[in-house]
Symmetry: C2
Subunit: 514 residues, 2 copies
């Protein structure tokens, strides 16, 4: 049947959605959530059908922007519409939900349909839950990784050795990437680093780097920067590496499940051609991985999967029970990293972590005494020089000084009500306060931790300082602190950590950054 | 923040959806799929946020019809919009997904949010899958049933004894309801029957009855008909009994899972006040329940759940390996039922099934020799008279004769290519052919089965006749038959049922009618 196109100018967020008059839909036998195939000249597109009774006459079809742009039919033009059944991939998803293993063709079909929008929310959700409940074996993880690479863009570099570093996240203030990339690149190794923006955290590496340079590069621009400097720090979202992951994460986030952790990380590494990889697994309460035992199991999975994908992989299990360094929030963290790189400040845990990770990569590539070498590159100023080169190539101010970085002009100190030692820090709550203060959207918002684990604290001393770009957000953050214990100070003999007065509600503190 | 309303005239299919300019959404911290609370005068509504960049200026909000009508704010008027987090029910869903049992308050909260649209597709899908994967115990089934009743309309009748009958479906041609309702009502028992429309079958009871009378009654009209005649046959969808179920089924259908079978059936019975119930469980290949063992287990579940809900329940396990009677399709089935009621035809299996089910209800209510009594009521013409009363009260032609019912004018006979006995009938495929011919939307479309199981067939004899309202659809049905074996004729000694030449694709033949 032919339908007359009406452009409505709305986006559906990637899904190919069309709207039909309900009677047209029924007479074609298309139920709501059913699908139609649209044809215009030589272009075809399967779309999901919504129905309406008003404002839309019989014979008219509303196109969301995604479909409108793809088809290229003019507003008012005629397109052909015919009903189609569930795509084959829905059958595979049902099979997985019933516990059957999927083969690589089936997985490729599912991922392809996820990316081209042929699967509905219901079906994508089922697939993610099926993976979470039934698990995925190594073959399936390999197939998923490859399918996610195939359905996205890739970076092709004319290099034999390409290294990469990834943190599975979960620890606030982790500005390690801002040190590792220039250290590694300064040593002559190629590190095309793509980073993510924050989902639930106070800052992603992309936002940290964005306070110094442009991170929204195309694949071509990324290649140019890496060819010139050996490194880069770009936002992965702009270059469509493994776009399936961006869709899966929309499901995983509200459900707090993350069955695609390994394939989604490895697909983004494979898409930039990495063949030597170090994975940072922050471990501790408040992070995703609570114990060293769990971290070891996860490491084994990464290493095995890497082997199958021709990516030599090692894992670093790192301490994750408190923020790395003192700063939490994009600008505060970029400033702290720049202070360390320019040797104005010594932040021992940050330096230790960055040099260890860089050192592992060095040793994987045959360089001896890796950490020592990394420390020398940092201490010599070579790493600072390299970062400034990258900043220049990515359109930033290569002469930037730490004090040039704009920090929120409103701030408040949170004082300790008693003396003693810092016993624990609730990192998840700390992140929530930083987010209420404006992080990561307000780049100058965040927290500076004035005391860390084990520090001696006097009554009335400042535990941490909250920064915000607006007084309203600062007030909101202060209000949030009422009744909340974020930095616990006490005598090391105090055994009662907290008391529960009501049935506890599990606050959502799951951390999904990859 | 205040936003200016723009009505877009689109329906979202029940969900409260609004569209914001992407920058507005980001500055409020609302991600796509996030939620906002809308306020206008004293009306408040939580809605799910989509974003757009074109056609929508900052400070404007597009309202889908559902939200527009609920809020009552005029096009161009101002409403207040503020971000809200995930509703509490999402936490309960996550818990269930991890295997925790839900209490009645948690289930009520989930169902309430399903009905008022506060949960997204992702979250509703998760809930349904969690129930399917983790199972639900009796307490949870009771809570779900009650919650589904509470969130919908109910029928209140001033009667002590209210009976009901339900088939879990799966066998084509099952027009039993058209006989059971008048038989039971003629005996003086009150039976306020609500029926469903077909989802995957060739006809639902609502469509069968609709060829004789109006089935889209309000609760008030339903009460009036029952008070006058003791019975009725209405479409449940029009009276919003357990509307949560209509939403759950949208998820269950594409996934071919049905964890809510018991609560959804029982909630619709409880909503009409039934306290004596017979459940028909058709059993056999092609139906939902393949074996008598499975049927017994399911019966036990229904009886237990009924006990907890104060609905005395008995189950009838019935033979489901071939259609009931000969006719499949709304008008053909209504005609066959009317022929039996008016004693123009004897259709043994249909009569046996209807009188058994009515008989069980009679005996549950203290009347002896139930089936005998039912048979007498049918044979005496009392049942026919009662159906005509109901037809009259529901706005139909109470003098309708079987030959008045319009049957599709195009038909074709499907002949047997060999002689022998009917060995088996593929009921699922039979339904598919009927649907391609136009059932249930084209009321006159369908199939008349000329031979049933065990019948002697000569080569060239007609196995079944396909009826359609258009020649195009008839051709499509004929085309579908190519290479398809629906009625198998052979010698009883033939052992090879079929041969598989390629990896079989599991065709979707799951039957979800409730």
């Amino acid at each position: 049947m032919n339908f007359k196109v009406k452009r409505i100018g709305l986006e559906s967020g990637g899904k190919p959605i069309v709207v039909l008059n309900r009677e047209d839909a029924e007479s074609m036998g298309v139920r709501s959530l059913g699908r139609v195939k649209l044809s215009y000249n030589l272009r075809e597109r399967v779309a999901i059908v919504n129905t309406a009774t008003e404002l839309l006459s019989r014979g008219e079809i509303f196109l969301y922007e995604e479909v409108y742009k793809y088809l290229g039919a003019p507003d008012g033009g005629l397109i052909e519409v015919e009903p189609v059944g569930f795509p084959r991939s829905t059958e595979y998803i049902r099979n997985k939900l019933r516990g059957r293993q999927l083969d690589s063709n089936e997985i490729r079909e599912i991922v392809k349909d996820v990316v081209n929008g042929a699967l509905s929310e219901v079906e994508i959700t089922s697939f993610v839950i099926a993976l979470a409940k039934e698990g995925l074996d190594l073959d399936e993880a390999v197939s998923l990784t490859n399918a996610m690479v195939e359905t996205g863009d890739t970076l092709v570099l004319d290099k034999e050795v390409i290294v990469d570093k990834h943190s599975i996240g979960g620890v606030p203030g982790d500005k390690t990437t801002l040190l590792v990339v220039p250290i590694v690149a300064a040593a002559g190794l190629c590190i095309p680093k793509s980073s993510s923006r924050a989902i639930t955290s106070a800052a992603g590496s992309a936002e940290r780097a964005e306070t110094l340079m442009n991170v929204e590069l195309s694949v071509d621009e990324m290649r140019r920067v890496v060819e010139k400097t050996n490194g880069c720090i770009v936002w992965g979202g702009a270059i469509h590496l493994a776009p399936a992951d961006d869709i899966f994460v929309q499901v995983e986030y509200p459900l707090s499940i993350d069955p695609l952790l390994l394939p989604s990380i490895m697909s983004k590494k494979k898409a930039v051609g990495a063949n030597h990889l170090v994975i940072d697994i922050p471990t501790g309460r408040g992070t995703k991985i609570k114990t060293i035992g769990d971290a070891s199991l996860l490491s084994k999975d990464f290493i095995e999967l890497g082997k199958r994908l021709n990516i030599r992989t090692q894992c670093a299990i790192t301490y994750g029970e408190q923020p790395i360094g003192h700063a939490v929030g994009p600008a505060l963290e970029a400033k702290e990293a720049l202070e360390v790189l320019s040797r104005r400040k010594v932040v021992p845990d940050l330096i230790d972590k960055a040099t260890h990770l860089a050192g592992i990569l060095f040793e994987m590539c045959g360089l001896e005494a890796g950490q020592k070498r990394a420390t020398e590159i940092l201490a010599s100023g070579m790493a600072e020089k390299k970062l400034r080169e990258i900043i220049a190539e990515q359109g930033g101010n290569s002469n930037v000084k730490p004090e040039d970085i704009a920090i929120g002009s409103h701030h408040t100190n949170v004082l300790s009500s008693n003396g003693g030692y810092v016993l624990w820090i609730d990192t998840a709550k700390l992140v929530e306060v930083a987010r209420v203060a404006g992080s990561p959207r307000d780049k100058g918002a965040g927290i500076i931790l004035n005391k860390k684990l084990g520090s001696r604290v006097k009554q009335g001393e400042s535990l941490f300082t909250i920064y915000a770009e607006s007084s309203v957000k600062l007030q909101r953050a202060e209000k949030m602190l009422e009744g909340l214990k974020i930095v616990a100070v006490g005598d090391k003999m105090e055994m009662l950590l907290d008391k529960i007065e009501d049935r506890p509600r599990h606050e959502k503190t799951f951390i999904l950054e990859r």
